[in-house]
């Protein structure tokens, strides 16, 4: 019996090839999208679960408050004393460890320099995190102050086939100081799906000796990611409840008024944590949801195609069903047959889908920015198989039940022009397909308009032609000389240095006081700061609203002069920038005067409103040098870069020269949106493609059925354009209705999305119209091919065939 069904299914597929191709194409693309999104979701939700004790690990985070109780800043890193105190104060904490970023380390081995991303960690880090050792002893590896644990690939890179254990690597810290690190352990490379990555781990014990006890008791140095491992069976709520008391004990009675600590489950970090300081930009659960929804939608579109085509074309199967019923088949057997056919199709589509993914795998990884992992794949076998079952059931049920209820007489009466088979349902399905395509198109338009806006809107300063060079201690010591050398080159228009550069967050702040009526008053909001060097305003092209720039000729400008932005002036309560001039102010222990007010500019991304901040001169406290290239340097850039490199290496022969364009840094702020936009492009194109595929199938079928009618109409004198209009008018009507449904939905969704930006475009009608027109155009193109063919056919031909 199954063999019989199978034969009929396969022969039908072969007989109606275009129909089979439309179905296979639609279903396999739909399935490929769904599997792809499954892989993505599986990857995104698999972060940090490689840790055996992942369920018991929490990260300590710290939140600071403004005087009105609102959040001023919220860090994923906390102060160094917190880890030991947690272990000491809370009986339920089994272990607490700190991990600090040490940046890119230049490790010297046999006169060659190797770069490795380094973290500093407490020796007990391996009690908390699961990093299997290939060589060395996890318990002692980082107990040694100069111990160094390397990942396997890094060890391979540096030592090749030599045994890396107990080898010495030299880490230059400054011009005069260098530290010998001894390799005490080799571990497997940390998994890709970890919320932090590294190539080398050095010992916190060594860091402590280097920085001294002062740093490690400093509650203001929030640079240490702190993880606690709870004892088995411990309840995190008990610790949460005890945190206020803990803070009072260690920071004084009012501690809870200005800051607090939170415990974040390790497994939530990647998708749920977006704090002001994180190891790496994290994923977002919202995108996981959005993509999951899109996956379901695309699959539904493909299934709808199948349902539409199967029911529309059911008349071609009427005879077979009728005969089978006459020779003794019952309803159930017919249903089983047709469901079976859908399953065959579904399994074929699944195989094609897997084929597509295997072929496109490298492109996909690049495009989606995620890795397809072994364990992802094996974990998905069952869901993927059930996917084909679900598709088979979902797409197959309705047509199967629908066809099984045909009375056998339908054929025996040679009743060819059967009833208009539930055409209203089919209409509704096509309309919803196109609504979805139009919605996706509109979203696409708005997302790209906003991205364009973010990248091109005037930031309030000149971000073009700016190069950033990272500076270390050694460079800081030589900065003035370095700058003087650079300024001799006519291709360089300016040089400055600062602790942070625009596009990075405004992470630093201190307490500030100003004077009103001679009374000192503490500011009730967070006034961030940027430590800068001279020429900062000039290099960045930041305009003054009042007062003057820092000037090296005024001795007091070094530490006793402040420049505020307009927002800060306004928030403090001065009526105009000029009113703020010469006002005394204290800032984090510095006592000085406001010498200038700068016009507001977008220091941070457009996601955030312009924050109040101030600048002051800190000649020795910077980590980035910014160079403004002179306008004519377009053609001479290579030359200038070579010049920069040569000067740089005069001062820092051991260091690799490395620069970034500020422009790129700004663009990177919208990486997530760019990625979202790309995904949206991909999936909306797929959705439109699948919808059009279905429409094409329907149109060609109906047009074929209307061949005779068209012949008669033409014989009666209808014109070709008249016939085309007659045949297409109902499809146009469908698409117009799809637009009516799509517009409000798209408007609502995009309005929500734009709320993510403090500065955003206003949605424009043209985006909607373009989306509508595009979908209409594409749909009409697929319709017209069939229709024009039918309309221009010789009527005699059409009539003769009957």
């Amino acid at each position: 019996m199954i063999k019989n069904y199978f034969k009929i299914a396969v022969r039908n597929l072969l007989k109606y090839k275009s129909y089979a191709i439309i179905n296979l194409l639609g279903l396999s693309i739909g399935m490929a999208s769904v599997i792809l999104i499954m892989l993505y979701v599986n990857f995104e939700t698999s972060f940090d679960i490689y840790n055996k004790n992942a369920d018991r690990i929490y990260r300590v985070t710290r939140e600071w408050f403004n005087s009105d109780g609102s959040t001023s800043i919220y860090f994923g890193f906390v102060a160094p004393p917190i880890a030991p105190l947690f272990k000491n104060d809370f009986e339920q904490v089994e272990q607490a460890v700190r991990i600090a970023q040490a940046g890119i380390a230049n490790l010297k081995y046999q006169d060659k320099i190797y770069q490795a991303e380094m973290l500093s960690a407490d020796p007990e880090v391996f009690d908390v995190f699961t990093f299997p050792f290939i060589q060395g002893d996890p318990a002692s590896a980082l107990q040694i102050p100069n111990g160094l644990v390397l990942t396997q690939s890094t060890a391979q890179k540096i030592f090749g086939n030599k045994n890396p254990l107990h080898q010495i690597l030299i880490l230059p810290v400054t011009k005069d100081i260098q530290i010998d690190l001894i390799v005490t352990g080799i571990i497997n490379d940390p998994p890709v799906n970890s919320h932090f990555h590294f190539e080398a781990l050095n010992s916190m014990v060594g860091l402590r000796q280097f920085y001294g006890e002062e740093e490690f008791s400093n509650w203001g140095s929030n640079n240490y990611a702190t993880y606690i491992l709870l004892k088995e069976g411990a309840n995190v709520e008990n610790i949460n409840r005890a945190i206020p008391q803990f803070l009072i004990k260690h920071l004084g009675d009012n501690a809870n008024e200005w800051n607090t600590l939170h415990l974040q489950p390790l497994k939530n970090i990647h998708l749920h944590s977006h704090l002001d300081a994180e190891f790496e930009p994290n994923g977002n659960i919202i995108y996981v949801y959005i993509l999951s929804i899109i996956a379901v939608i695309i699959l539904m579109l493909a299934c709808v195609n199948f349902i539409n085509l199967a029911t529309a074309r059911s008349t071609t199967r009427v005879k077979e069903i009728g005969i089978k019923k006459v020779v003794g088949a019952n309803r159930r057997q017919i249903i089983v047959q047709f469901l079976g056919e859908t399953f065959i199709l579904s399994i074929m589509s699944l195989l094609i889908a897997i084929g597509i993914l295997v072929i496109l795998r490298p492109v996909i990884q690049n495009f989606f920015g995620f890795t397809i992992l072994e364990n992802n794949v094996t974990g998905l076998i069952l869901p993927v198989i059930s996917l084909s079952v679900i598709v088979g059931l979902f797409a197959g049920s309705y047509p199967a039940f629908y066809m099984a209820q045909f009375p056998p007489l339908l054929i025996l009466r040679a009743f060819q022009q059967s009833r208009t088979l539930k055409s209203s349902l089919r209409k509704a399905l096509v309309i919803s397909q196109f609504s979805i395509s139009i919605i996706l198109m509109i979203c696409l338009g708005v997302v790209f308009e906003q991205l364009n806006y973010c990248k091109n809107k005037d930031l309030g300063f000149d971000k073009e032609q700016l190069l950033n060079l990272p500076a270390n201690r050694e460079m800081i010591d030589n900065y003035e000389a370095f700058k003087a050398r650079l300024m001799q080159n006519p291709n360089i228009a300016g040089v400055t240095a600062s602790k942070r550069v625009p596009s990075a967050g405004l992470a630093d702040n201190s307490e500030a006081t100003v004077y009103f009526d001679k009374k000192e008053m503490t500011l009730g909001f967070r006034l961030a700061n940027v430590r800068v060097n001279y020429d900062f305003l000039q290099v960045y092209g930041i305009k003054l609203a009042a007062g003057r720039d820092f000037d090296q000729t005024y001795a007091t400008d070094n530490g006793y002069a402040f420049i505020l932005n307009e927002t800060a002036v306004q928030k403090i309560g001065w009526k105009s920038p000029s009113e703020a001039l010469d006002q005394p102010m204290t800032y984090g222990g510095l006592r000085g005067q406001i010498i200038g007010v700068i016009k507001d500019f977008h220091y941070e991304s457009f996601h955030k409103s312009i924050a109040p901040f101030m600048l002051f001169i800190a000649p020795d406290d910077f980590n980035t040098i910014t160079i403004k290239l002179a306008p004519q340097t377009h053609n001479t850039f290579q030359e200038t870069a070579a010049f920069l490199k040569s000067i740089w290496q005069e001062y820092l022969p051991n260091d690799t020269f490395h620069y970034t364009f500020l422009n790129d840094r700004y663009n990177r702020l919208y990486n997530t949106e760019q990625k979202q936009g790309n995904l949206l492009t991909l999936f909306s194109l797929l959705a439109i493609f699948i919808s059009c595929l279905g429409l094409l199938g329907l149109v060609s079928f109906f047009t074929q059925r209307k061949t005779k009618e068209i012949g008669i109409r033409k014989a009666l004198g209808a014109s070709i354009p008249g016939i085309i209009l007659y045949l297409t008018s109902s499809y146009i009507k469908w698409i117009v209705m799809a637009n009516i449904i799509a517009f409000p939905v798209a408007w609502y969704a995009m309005n929500k999305w734009l709320q993510n930006f403090a500065y955003h475009v206003n949605m424009k009608m043209w985006v909607y119209l373009v989306a509508a027109a595009t979908v209409l155009l594409i749909a009409m193109l697929s319709v017209s091919w069939q229709v024009i063919r039918a309309a221009t056919a010789n009527p005699v031909e059409a009539l003769r065939y009957e």
Partner: protein, 225 residues
Amino acid sequence: MIKLVDVEKYYANKFIKTWVLRNINLTIHEGDFVSIMGPSGAGKSTLLHIIGMLDDMSGGEYYFMDEPVHKLNEKKRTAFHQQYIGFVFQAYHLIDELTVYENLETPLLYKKVKTAERKSMIADMLDRFNIVAKKDLFPNQLSGGQQQLVAVARALIINPKIILADEPTGNLNSKQGLEIMEMLKQLNKEGTTIIQVTHDENKAAFGNRIIHLADGYVEKEEQHG
């Protein structure tokens, strides 16, 4: 074997009833060869479909081997098809996607006949109709007469008590038609009850009873030999 009592059939279209069959009282015995004749629209095919349980009656009673068909559900009726009734149509109605062999196999599949038994039954039938060489061909590769031959073979393969034939020779040339009629006659001699619909007097004469329908009524009945 078949007893129809006051069978009627109409189509209700809003307020107008269109009568197809009225007052049909008919008894058909085992071994009969009945020809139903009449002009177009007389209700011949409808009567055949009702007897074949493909169509519902609007009123009246229908006993098939003493079972009240008018009271049976679909499942039971399907069981009757499978066991007792074979159909032959004017347009042959073979499944286009299946070969001759597979077309003959289909009713057996629905009857859940075991594979080995199925094979021998089909082989017998191919033999008997002399179409062994054609078994792997598809219907569209056969002439009309050959197709109808396969259709008769398919009807016979379940070894039915009765064959219902709706204008079985309507699409065939006279030679082919005659062959099919001879075939039916032979089957009748072997004990199969046959009811055929036709408007060809010559073909009708193959039966031992001829029932004339007009406007839904039984007009007259002739008995032969």
